[in-house]
Subunit: 339 residues, 6 copies
């Protein structure tokens, strides 16, 4: 099974440890982005995957390519054009101080690329799944078109489509996001989203559904998935549920719904090392479970465990193996030393 | 509004992360001191402030000046004389292991300065507030005199006086502290202290007041403030209340009392990155609230939030903006990523 | 009082902070090993101690010697022969992600040493205690013989013998361990072990003893010690009890049993900086208490406090002084700053 | 004497030591830019100075402001607008491997600022000198206009104008540079340039002048200055002469010409720690000499010494004091330890 | 053109900067080995290449695989077996203090691999060149056999064979090396070696050839190549010539001989950042020139330039692009900043 | 042979690499001092040695003790009293920028110790040599007395006395130094000094002696030694000769004179990593040669080689083995990699 992912990969610059921007005299460098993170997770679980993007043809662009190659992600269809890589600065919060992100992504190679630069028939050859998130069409009108063309090509070629709904208010308005994302849903075989984005972007009313501790109850989740399915005809729907106790402690759990059946993961309480990319880990976990045929319950357990473990790994990429994730999914979370 | 603060700034040398002195092969360097910390906090909240001290006229002295200038604190009246800067070594504790401080401050420029070296009429020109802590008069008899002269000049010039009672047993005895601090109270418009120091140094008997979980109750705090006011005629009194669960987890809250009215902040439970300077952050929060006219409740909420957030910032200085502090004061403490 | 310890010291290579092997571009270096760790702890408590091992006669071997000398451990009888030092790679887990150890110890100087290389009559001259763990005889048949010879010499010379039962399944099978360790028990004056190893290696049936929260109850501990004493005639038995909540949080407590009397420590809940060597700290605490005549209760309190505090110190060595440990043993665990 | 400088300050990101981009996992951060560097040098020599630019109103923009404040540079007229700070990535070469710079400056706050955003009458109040380099007008048409308006205002207000001709071929063509820079020369009281830029941009023919070891001879320098003076009526002209032996070793010297008199510095041969900003150090040295009345010979000696010493300091800023520079200018270059 | 290289890749552990082992508290980690280094260089010049070895199937083994993938080297035929990766410790000398290497390579996965583990018919499919150095057959008798089988398969499949003679006295004796290497010469199409190894291992008498400044003269080099060709019938012979002035300064040059024609590179004098792998860079330069059809002179110039530039790059891998190497080969060695 | 050294050991704090104080945000920590450095060098050459000083009884004092123990130096007679350890800040120069030292040593434990605190009869038991430098008596009148008492005791006990004349103008005046050092010469069996200090402090007129390249010629050195011998009756005199070309490059050589015979070392030209302690390395080299019976020529060659190699080692201690030093003394200075 091979998954092609499509999106932006950025250089991430972060003060070490819990340092604030104002006191930083060095940045730790990693590279990441929603779809790239999914590809790395898939590769770490032994699945074939390729990441498609545009990057400048200079050494910094090459660094991003190398970061992907290092973890076994295919980079053959990455365009080398444009003049800069998007950057995001992040400082790692703690306790009541939230992590803070400053984006510097305007004018990046992918933001200045054209839809026509990507030859989807060629790119998707041999692929089983195409994955993108709501960030990619938000980059530019050209990238909106590129996603539409990719989805259409996928459909035509029998490639399944996975979409992480991910809405970023700094990139576009709710109205714009609705107008782009809703029509894309016709192509989607697997939707991953949290309840807020389902409500906001897909306009599914969840206001009267039962909640508990700020999240929808299990019943609420099922009702939400059924409503999405009813309106958009998406056969598989995964919902992630996070509760932020502080910048240091979060809880996560998830649901996977398919054809009227729902499976729920346990809830994990995490001390956070780095939460960036944890949603992408959940997505990759769902895709792994589906592609490896884990079945509904084991798939959602695996995805939630992947998401949980990502919080303990610095950087955007979830550097956990399938075996490590499965151990937690199956209940081994005592953190005893593995000698 | 401009606040002049007066005291010692020291070079702080700390092993990285949670390293012990015995294993350190490098020290992280910052500069800090009670009054300097207050000035930096005020500057970060957009208030004008100047820090007065004495520092040696060599590069290491200049480093301390530069640390202040970097955050916008005025350094015009800093004396450049003497031969050394005070140093304190600190190792950052964890769990049941307490943080440990070794002072090496004898013979510093300010410890060898004369009261007559400071021309308060000149220094306080244009100031609205003068702030000092109980550490400054403890440095030497000359500095005791300097504080007295500064207070007298302030009174004469209509500059309000703020005092953080802060008692350091390594610097002087309780008896000596009482004999110096009690007469200084006549000048004080705003007193900030914890209940132990009020009892020890100002000789206010709190032994029969009601407590709860090792701290005075709200009623006890009010009674304490009223007793201080009755004896020393200080119009505004702020009390900080800390509970140390471990070197990694503390709780803080505060009260602000003025003319018979008391306001209490919420209690914050913190995972600690660095607790040094958190009391100074509370003090600066009170001064900010007063100078910006927040009113009693918002002022104490702001001060407690500032104090809480300091625990998440490495170094003595509280590198939080007014907006960030206000958000927590108004209840946003979930630590969600701010993208 | 002088304690000779005998075993392997390894180079430990760890990615900084919570980094995974896959992302490491540098390793922090320390040296450690069960018996070496005990010696360092004893030295830190002011007791004389010597560590016996074999190390290669090159600079890296010298680094291990220097690490011991730095903390005052005698190195006079360390053999300088063979071609390599054993290495272990460790990544520091967090939350649900366990710490992971990769051993690279085959072919080390001690693994290729002969029993005859050690002249125990000479080595034990002037010693009061000999200490080894179950790791040393597991290294090789020659080291099994060396431990036997050391014990026999100790007995002959009136040197008491302490044994940490420590079973490592990667080094030998349960059957092999039983066949070696059980006969060694005849020499042992003090046994330190957890309940699992007592059951597995000494074949004491604890399956019907009462448990609580995954650990044996106090009654169960006493029954276990009595059973060990009945079968192996060991006069002093210490049992450590750990509960791993996650890689970030553990609980520990301990029991010390002698001649029908048992003393139990309080249970400590720790945020973990580094848990490696915490069992060795417990052992050293017991030995310190015995050698300094603390009495049963104070000894187990001291040992548990030493074990607890080790979790806050990076590296294998427990860099805590007797005074710091005693303060916690006596109940001061608030972690307030020590100025 | 007060100097206002005007230009762009960028975030500089560099792999540590001699690391290549391809292997970097962290960047050291400093802030710098031609005119900002001049201001810091002037401040380090005790002269008053202010730097004018535009920076985004977020924490990263604030970091640049703080970097200037730290060294005593006035930041009062810095505009806080736009969305990003320009970035340049630099790797530090060695031996035959040249240092490499990748610019990422498009769309920065100053590149998107308008000429009308700067109120020169207000900014230049109290100033004695205005300084800019050829980089500032190259940023955009608006910045070309801003420089012209600044020069016109300076002339009107009796503020002298200093220009570092600095031509960057990545920013604009030779033709464009000529059309902008030549008309600006009417305002210039002090021109600093190397011989190539004088020839290229000011179209002074130096092809037939005598050279030696790739640089113009003293006679050639004088003839060049006279030709510039004849055509552009600039009263003071400083020429820097560099010879790059390798990325590790360079030679520099300089000439200062005024009213028919020329003074030449000694030539310095340097082992390079960091050569960025060394030209700006020369410029600041000339301005310091003029403003402090050193006279022609001492001024050029001081400037060349400042330039030479910059090569030994990491970062864009020349953190040398006036005394240190003067010592080298007066011949003390043995590098003996100063205890 | 695709080159398969075969050998050992080791983990290299080095104290930072010029630190000695005795003072190191951390090691910088890179991975390298003669043949792996050649593959990385070829990949950096845009040529297809694959590295064949054996590595343990754990995370540290994976780190070595990832290091190769990061730079685009194929890893498909790497065996994942055995229990450890070879390690070498290196401290970086300076001035009169030589760099020092401690090998810890016994028992590595490749040292315990069998010749039969490698299926050369499969591995060499699609390859144009096979490259190995004298280190690979020195690893073990099995690896001697593996190299012989690889050469035989290459010959049969029309794959050309390149051999870097590289003799390591710590791995085998001169006699043993002669008995293995001389028979292998029948397969070799390109030999790279220095004059000492040609004399020692291939028993070509160079004692009466003219030398100059410790190296053979051009005439001597030609005579040497002709003698090698006469005896072993190797069509292409490259000779590297190094002169070590100190640990900080070396000179290198090279010769390439083919069918009676010889081309000589310029001699480069280098300040050394890291000289490990510079010989491999020369080899890769020769292979690049041959595969890209540069011709004799340009090939040796390119190889010497690659070798020279490697000295400026930390780590075993030569992270220089074809364009950067070519620029130096064509004479641009001034080290001017490339903006 | 056992050497007791007596003096001050300080904490040295240095910005990393070539950083200036003004830009430092961390200090690398080592411990060093003239006599301590000599002891470490002697221990590294396999000689027994003990260092005597006073250090505060807190963790930072313990760090200095541990630094000595790590390298095998005896610490049994170190007094643990007083309140602080002397500190010196050093920034590492480069090229024309000199290294800079800021001392902060007033009030240290040894500066406040009494002569009577040291029991020389006890301390010198079993010693063959006593070594001190001109720095120790300069610390205080009490330390002047302590040195006198130590010398007198040594004489009485048949312990030979070695003195490094080392004059520090920041500690005392030339006149004071003369009045103390000249009377001490009666005890000295071995004097080590440079020509300037011999002239200044011992008042030997060298103004008319022949020089060459700023240093005395061989004849001048001999004449100087003879004059010292004539006046002070010191049997062995070693003279070090340094020429500072820049902060990056120095030359050193030395002479050893005994009973009318003089031996001269080669001159070494060094690229400097760290020159602090290089004079102490020369001294230790002379003492090693004498104690091991190398003879005059080999002793001075060894001492100069030790001095030379120290320039390549970071920190005050010369971490070179006897074998490494001897190799250079015997002419192997090519810096080739030692595999």
């Amino acid at each position: 099974m091979k998954t092609v992912t499509f999106g932006e990969i950025m250089m991430r610059l972060a003060p070490p440890a819990h340092g604030r921007f104002l006191q930083a005299d060095r940045f730790d460098i990693v590279y990441g982005g929603g779809e790239a993170n999914v590809s790395v997770s898939l590769s770490n679980c032994g699945l074939e995957t390729e990441f498609v993007t545009a990057l400048p043809d200079h050494e910094i662009g090459q660094c991003a390519v190398n970061a992907l190659r290092r973890y076994g992600v295919g980079t053959e269809h990455i365009l080398r054009q444009g003049s800069r890589i998007g950057i995001y600065f992040i400082e790692n919060g703690a306790s009541q101080r939230a992590s803070k992100v400053i984006y510097d992504r305007a004018g990046s190679s992918i933001a200045t690329a054209k839809a026509a630069d990507f030859d989807w028939k060629e790119i998707l050859k041999g692929a089983d799944w195409l994955h993108f998130s709501g960030i990619t069409p938000a980059i530019s009108a050209e990238m909106t078109a590129a996603v539409q063309e990719a989805c259409a090509a996928a459909k035509e070629m029998g490639v399944k489509v996975s979409c992480d709904l991910n809405f970023r208010s700094k990139m576009w308005s709710v109205e714009k996001a609705r107008s782009v994302m809703q029509p894309l849903m016709q192509y989607v075989d697997l939707l991953i989203a949290n309840e807020q984005h389902i409500s906001q972007i897909l306009e599914i009313d969840i206001s009267s559904l039962p909640t508990e501790d700020t999240n929808l109850t299990r019943e609420g989740c099922i009702a939400t998935a059924e409503a999405v399915n009813a309106r958009y005809h998406i056969p598989m729907i995964a919902i992630t549920q996070r509760r932020s106790l502080s910048a240091s402690d979060n809880k996560v759990k998830g649901m996977l719904w398919q054809e009227g059946k729902a499976a729920f993961s346990a809830q994990h309480l995490m001390h956070i090392v780095d939460r960036v990319g944890s949603g992408d880990s959940f997505t990759a976990g769902i895709l792994t479970g589906i592609q490896k045929g884990f079945g509904l319950q084991k798939t959602v357990d695996f995805a939630a465990a992947a998401c949980c473990l990502k919080h303990s790994v610095e950087g955007d990429f979830n550097l956990m193996s399938e075996g490590e994730i499965m151990a937690l999914a199956e209940g081994e979370g005592s953190g005893s030393v593995q000698r």
